[in-house]
């Protein structure tokens, strides 16, 4: 195969929402490096079907009874066989929670290092240079692979756009790995949801969202006042909900709710990727932060650089006028 292989995720026979952008990334790497592009879907042939409509040399549906429920041992063993049999030069994943769970294990099993959470790439002297973020998005790093292929990378949600996908037609081929139940040491049990979602942030037109810049629980009323003045729902970054300063159901981000209101005001939120994925579809974004370098300003339409304890009261006052 010696090409670029995109390994995708599915649950219950449906592709993960990052699947197509990962194929787009693989196609871009393939075009730049002049390599054919392949895809693989572990666990379900049905999930692989929609990929037949894209420009791919082949889609591997990796099927086995022991892959029906995800386990890191099962997935690693199966995909290792696929990789060893087909010898891709590059293996690309979406940086999902499931991929975080097994891709580093797979790379390690083959003596390689996965470059995780890549935001962009360029081709330099025929080689791939990957860009990833350090310090929660405050600094970027250029990374190159050393040594022999296969090289492993996972791409960040939203970094490569699915609308750049090249259509085409791809044959789907079943790959059956050799697996035994004894290889799988962990036992996946029930999947469940916990927080009662009494507030539907998805329906809110205006959201005031508060982060760790608020410092302590006693200061929450300040943003409550701002929310009231704007007739907005109140939301928060994860640490605020972890601390119990606001209920879990108000958490926005990859492990909370995804929202897209008309107006999203981020108050004292740094803009870590796990927060951004939950709100960057908002129509208008306002950021209030004392750090002019905070990553939240990258997605903001309007920003105030300053101390929220001065800025928020000033906004409340200005709204009253």
């Amino acid at each position: 195969m010696s090409g670029v292989l995109a390994i995708l995720e599915q649950r219950d026979g449906k592709l993960h929402k990052m699947a197509l952008e990962t194929v787009a990334a693989a196609q871009q790497f393939g075009a730049g490096l002049n390599l054919p592009v392949f895809a693989a879907v572990p666990g379900s042939k049905a999930a692989a079907e929609p990929l037949s409509g894209y420009k791919l040399d082949k889609v591997h549906a990796v099927e086995h009874d022991l892959l029906k429920d995800y386990t890191p041992d099962g997935y690693t063993a199966a995909l290792r066989q696929l990789i060893e049999q087909h010898g891709p030069k590059y293996v690309i994943f979406p940086h999902t929670y499931q991929v975080r769970d097994y891709a580093p294990k797979l790379a390690t099993a083959l003596g390689r290092t996965l470059v995780s959470d890549v935001i962009s790439h360029r081709i330099d002297g025929g080689a791939l240079v990957l860009v990833r973020q350090l310090f929660q998005g405050k600094i970027n790093a250029d990374i190159r692979f050393e040594g022999d292929a296969p090289h492993f990378a996972s791409v960040q949600a939203g970094a490569f756009r699915a609308d750049n996908l090249q259509p085409g037609s791809a044959p789907i081929e079943v790959f059956q790995p050799r697996l035994e139940a004894a290889q799988i040491r962990t036992k996946p049990l029930e999947i469940f949801r916990e927080s009662q979602r009494a507030v539907d942030l998805g329906a809110a037109e205006i959201i005031v969202s508060v982060g760790r810049g608020i410092r302590e629980a006693e200061n929450i009323p300040l943003v409550e006042k701002l929310a009231a003045a704007l007739h907005a729902e109140l939301a928060a970054s994860r640490p605020i909900c972890d601390n119990g300063w606001l209920p879990m159901e108000r958490q926005v981000g990859s492990s909370g709710q995804t929202v897209a209101p008309k107006l999203y005001l981020a108050v004292g939120i740094s803009g870590a990727i796990q927060h951004l994925v939950g709100m960057k579809g908002s129509k208008t974004i306002v950021a209030i932060n004392k750090d002019p370098e905070a990553p939240i300003f990258e997605v903001a339409d309007y920003g105030i650089v300053g101390d929220l304890f001065q800025v928020v009261p000033a906004i409340i006052e200005a709204l009253g006028k």
């Binding site: 580093p104 003596g111 390689r112 470059v115 350090l134 970027n140 990374i143 190159r144 469940f192 309007y302």
Partner: protein, 254 residues
């Protein structure tokens, strides 16, 4: 139960970061440091499990001299002893190389459970725990919110995306990567701080043999601003008035 907690020392969260002239790393001179946030939760989980089940908690940290401070804090909170892998100039920036260091320092320990944070605040690979599990031949689970000991293993609660969770059963020994925020962190007591001074910190020199690194960090830099935002950085009153004006008449969202 013998539990190892991997803790990393990272620049404090609100640090203003500057890239060093070499472009290889940040200026470290004026920074203050703290424990990587999820690692504080990994350590807390370890201490709570020890309180429930008895046994021993061992902290392991690879870092330069300054990491001693973070190790002492862990000891003051109730960690029994620590292993400090002294990486004098720079800790490996390759999670595979780093996990190899951790694994060889842990060889003699044979822990029942290894806990790491799910991600470091500086490199942010989100990998070291999983890589370490593979090297040590342990089953693992990531992004763990809760650990329940059972007679023949443990049941853990894994965070999935979009507010979903999954329970997973696994045998021991095992490795878990711990998510922030699942429990309350304890503070060190005065007594704990005093006791910490007498606790063992085993110093380990990393094997000199450089690994064949599989990746190379070529350079670091501040992200180019694609800034499409209008910034108001005047006095709060003025900035607030400008913002409201824009929201009313330009964006027309209020």
């Amino acid at each position: 139960m013998k539990i190892v907690a991997a803790i990393k020392q990272v620049p404090s969260r609100d640090s203003l970061l500057k890239v060093s002239p070499s472009g290889k790393w940040i200026e470290e001179a004026d920074l203050s440091y703290e424990i990587n946030e999820p690692d504080a939760y990994a350590l807390e989980e370890a201490l709570q499990l020890k309180e429930k089940l008895g046994g021993e908690v061992i902290a392991i940290c690879a870092g330069p001299d300054r990491a001693t401070q973070t190790i002492r804090e862990a000891l003051a909170k109730g960690t029994d002893r620590a292993i400090h892998i002294e990486t004098s100039d720079q800790t490996p920036s390759d999670p595979l190389a780093l996990a190899r260091l951790l694994s060889s320092a842990l060889e003699a320990e044979k822990p029942d459970l290894v806990l790491t944070g799910l991600q470091s605040d500086d490199f942010g690979y989100g990998q070291t725990g999983v890589v370490l599990a593979e090297i040590m031949g342990l089953p693992h689970a990531t992004i763990i919110m809760n650990v329940e000991p059972e007679s023949n293993g443990i049941k853990v609660k894994r965070e999935l995306e979009d507010g979903w969770f999954q329970n997973v059963w696994m045998p021991l020994p095992a490795l878990l990567t711990i998510q922030s925020g699942a429990t309350k962190l304890r503070y060190a007591t005065l007594m704990g701080i005093k006791r910490a001074k007498t606790k063992e910190i085993r110093k380990v020199q990393p094997a000199a043999a450089a690994q064949n690194a599989a990746i190379r960090l070529e350079r670091i830099y501040l992200p180019e601003k694609s800034r499409r935002s209008q910034i108001f950085d005047g006095q709060p009153k003025e900035a607030a008035a400008q913002l409201i004006e824009k929201l009313r008449f330009e964006a027309r969202v209020i």
